[in-house]
């Protein structure tokens, strides 16, 4: 970034106005003006704690599916029903067939389709996540190949529960926690004036030439695996270089900076506000075509703003298998409140994207959102029937407004003898990852663990 992002202007950027909806005004996508066809975008949204089949699963059939019943987890999404594709019965099959299940596997495999590799002593995948693969394929024309966001840090940086995005060598891609920093990164270099800017630009170009040359010199001395580190580094440098001359889509207005009222990133009461700021910035970044790929994690240690003061993981999720009534229903309904809040966040994100006109429709029409979870049924801690929803218009790549029953019938675990034996009717999520990759023009016939091939039928 040129010099206009020095400490002086940072202060200026951050001295925003009040909290009230910084990006609330109607926006217009600048992409439609600049390009003939609107681009397809990808958002992966990850939330924890597992599902509650009786409250999560839509009632009815494929087209007349119903999410508008009492205590329906998906009810807040009713207003976007026509842009949902609910996937009931998808498994993280790779986890229970290749080693590790429970909580930890979910974030690792959600976007990678990989088994959990523990050779390093940590829980990591064996390859890249879908956002990185799509970002490398389509992100090269935008300023940022992809963005990784996190609404609230619960476990310390880059903990296994915090990270869903991984590089080619299976390392965690760090994420941005602070919307103010995200704003600076996205919009900080925008604007500024001619003469001085031009001089700075020339120097920046010389600088980037040097940095790329230096990194390339080092890479030449490394073996393939070590060289991957420098490949990642060089890709990042080339992105910076590209941003020098490509200042985003034409006529894109620089939005107002978010207020710094929520600067305490460790205060749980700020989580709803931080979530909203991140999501508004996603919408703005899409409107300006600064990126086309975003991942976001929203954790849930507790949710005092909806009266959930206890530790959701230990005091609700771990207790959802309570057998005695009325305790069982009470605990499960508390989890419904938690999961409904997540549904509401997705609905709000869709609202923001739908508020940006693009071509004859909106940015939402040209976005695929994949909303996933760490577990299937919260009670069993198994990776079977993961609550999974595709949302957005998906640029017509997928047929929305439906609910697919991928594994009809009840309780697939009932007679299952355990790992090593096939689980009847299992449909692996790798197929979905492959389908999404193909929708973005990535030429693959499988994604993640090589055992699982092909696309998910019925999406189109």
């Amino acid at each position: 970034m040129p010099r206009d992002i020095s400490r002086r202007s940072l202060l200026k950027l951050l001295s925003g106005t009040a909290m009230a909806a910084p990006f609330g005004h109607l926006l217009t996508s600048s992409v439609a003006e600049a390009a003939d066809a609107a681009p397809l975008r990808f958002i992966a949204l990850f939330t924890p704690h597992g599902g509650l089949p009786e409250y999560w699963t839509p009632k009815g059939g494929e087209l007349d599916f119903n999410i508008d019943f009492e205590n329906s987890v998906l009810q807040p999404l009713q207003r976007h029903r026509s842009k949902l594709l609910v996937l009931d019965g998808l498994d993280y099959r790779v986890l229970y067939e290749h080693g590790r299940t429970g909580h930890e596997g979910g974030p690792v495999t959600f976007l990678t389709g990989s088994e959990v590799v523990v050779d390093s002593g940590d829980e990591l995948p064996s390859g890249a996540s879908l956002d990185q693969v799509i970002g490398n394929a389509v992100g090269g024309v935008t300023q940022f190949r992809s963005l990784q966001l996190h609404a609230f840090e619960q476990f310390g940086a880059q903990h296994v529960y915090n990270s869903i995005s991984f590089t080619e060598n299976g390392s965690r891609v760090p994420f941005e926690l602070n919307p103010a920093n995200l704003y600076k990164r996205l919009f900080g270099s925008m604007g500024g004036s001619s003469a001085e800017a031009q001089a700075i630009l020339m120097k920046r170009k010389s600088l980037m030439d040097y940095l790329i040359k230096d990194a390339t010199r080092l890479k030449k001395r490394l073996a393939t695996a070590e060289g991957q580190k420098l490949d990642t580094h060089l890709a990042a440098l080339r992105d910076i270089e590209r941003r020098l001359t490509n200042t985003g889509a034409l006529n894109c207005a620089k939005p107002e900076a978010p207020s710094d009222e929520l600067s305490d990133l460790g205060d749980i009461n700020n989580m709803p506000g931080l979530t909203k700021l991140h999501m508004d910035l996603i919408a703005r970044a899409f409107a300006c075509d600064l990126t086309r790929v975003v991942t976001m994690t929203i954790p849930g240690p507790s949710m005092p703003w909806i009266g959930i003061d206890e530790d959701i993981h230990n005091d609700i999720a771990h207790r959802t298998d309570t057998q005695t009534e009325p305790e069982r229903t009470e605990i499960r309904l508390r989890m419904v409140r938690v999961q409904q809040w997540y549904s509401e966040q997705l609905a709000l994100l869709m609202d923001s994207l739908a508020a940006i006109p693009e071509g004859s429709g909106t940015v939402l029409d040209n976005t695929v959102i994949l909303w996933g979870n760490e577990l299937g049924d919260a009670a069993g801690h198994m990776n079977v029937t993961i609550p999974t929803v595709l949302a957005g218009g998906a640029g017509g790549k997928f047929r929305m407004g439906r609910c697919l029953r991928l594994r009809p019938g009840k309780d697939p675990l009932g007679n299952w003898p355990g790992p090593g034996s096939p689980l009847p009717g299992a449909v692996e999520h790798n197929k979905l990852l492959t389908s999404i990759a193909q929708a973005f023009g990535v030429n693959v016939d499988r994604f993640g663990h090589p055992d699982y091939t092909g696309t998910l039928s019925g999406l189109t």
Partner: protein, 538 residues
Amino acid sequence: MPLRRFVLSSALVLSASACTGNIGGADETPESAAAPARVRRLTREEFNKSASAVLGSSVDVAQGFAAEDTILGFSTHERLQVTSLLADQIDTAAVTLAEEGRSRLSDLYACPSGRSQDDCAKAFIQKVGQRAFRRPVTAEEESDLLALFNAGKQGGTMATGAELVLQALFSSASFLYRTELGPTTGRKGQVVELTPYEVASELSFMVTGGPPDDTLLAAAQAGTLSSPDEREKQTRRLLQTADARLKLRQFFIEWLGLNGLNKVNKNNQVYPDYSVEFRDSMVRERNAFIDSIVKDHAGSVKELLSANYSYVDETLANYYGGLSRTGVDDEGMGRVTLPPERLGILTQAGVMSTYAHFDSSSPIKRGKFVLTRLLCRTVPPPPANVSTIPPALSEDSTTRERFAAHTSNPACAGCHKTIDPMGFGMEDFDGLGQHRTEENGHPVDASGGVVAPDGTITAPFTGGAQLARQLATNDELANCVPLQFVRYAMGRDEHASDAELLAAMRTGAYRTDELKVTEALVSLVRSASFTQRRLPTR
């Protein structure tokens, strides 16, 4: 639109390319001969120290960078990368650091009359470049940086030229990665000795967490670092610095898995003593106690485990049973003699709280902690079809009774017959590290045992203090610590070529002298594992 081709190993690319890998030459050494040549990215702390060394003034700009993740429990691992977010953060930080450098340019840049501007620029580049790259700048680099200097000077002054060079240095790969590649003349597949400057860097970062100082660089230049005695001498010199003590503190914290202590959260309904301030007290005890082990006992693991004292603030002195403190310092920390139920670091409130749940103790977490971190045993994950939810809280039974029922499942027993006796033996401490003899009105049974790998109980014990006393003389533990230290210091797991090194650590002064980690470190810097790498075969 040019689409950059990228490699997908996890996704099978439809147009599979032919295998074109070549087979290595006849003079290649086997992979077991030495660990692979590599580069290591600076951590945030190392970045700060490195930038400070270039500027000659202390900066902490990297604190805002994306945090490191951990591998094998350590944040100092070799897989750290410069991803897009970090590259942007470094890019911004380099601007700030270059501004800082410009403001103190008189220390860095001098141009006496009679010398050409290019010569002055070259002298500047050599001076700051050597500090930034931790080795002399090559002719090619000098010429590239001079071009950059002149680009920066255009329409400006010498100062703007110097500023652009500094900006480049602080964001360059040669600054951000420490190399362990040996001389450029090495042939593929061969084992090479690292260059003297690489050895100087490796030694300095390992001991102090920062770049080599002038003395060490001079030793590199003089070529004396090929001598194990000289490396030992330099190591012992650097061990006296405050930076070295902090680097050892970090080892103990990460080895014991205590880096998450400042995020520990407890249910106040169950633990009314818990508060953010209480948590801070636990962090302070952890740091003060470890610092005393490092400073006064050369990092002795035996002392760490069996000290009958600690350093605490008033909160913890009261919590531990109204202990009286001596030598209370400015920070409010004073030394206490521990009551008989507590010993060393194991029974500290911070350790017992870390290995516990939100609202109860966790015999499983504690057992696994001792087995994996202290004894280097491998504990496999639970079978995939087994629920790993802790048993529900109960008001009429003890934690031990709840967990004993839970793990009596035959599918679990294989591992839990080793984990449980270890964990149950620490049941005399609750989930906030308070000592207890009763739970829910029932007497606490804290009898346990260290089960040998072959499944026999070899060492019964009762309570955390007895366990700590046993561990202090346990051979398995004495052999484990060097391996953990290699992981931390080398940033990787054990390699086939480390056998000699580990044997030297396990039988040398570390072993005979109170398990002093500083002596293990000396064995490490003297070893072939420290100075040798195998070059790639392609």
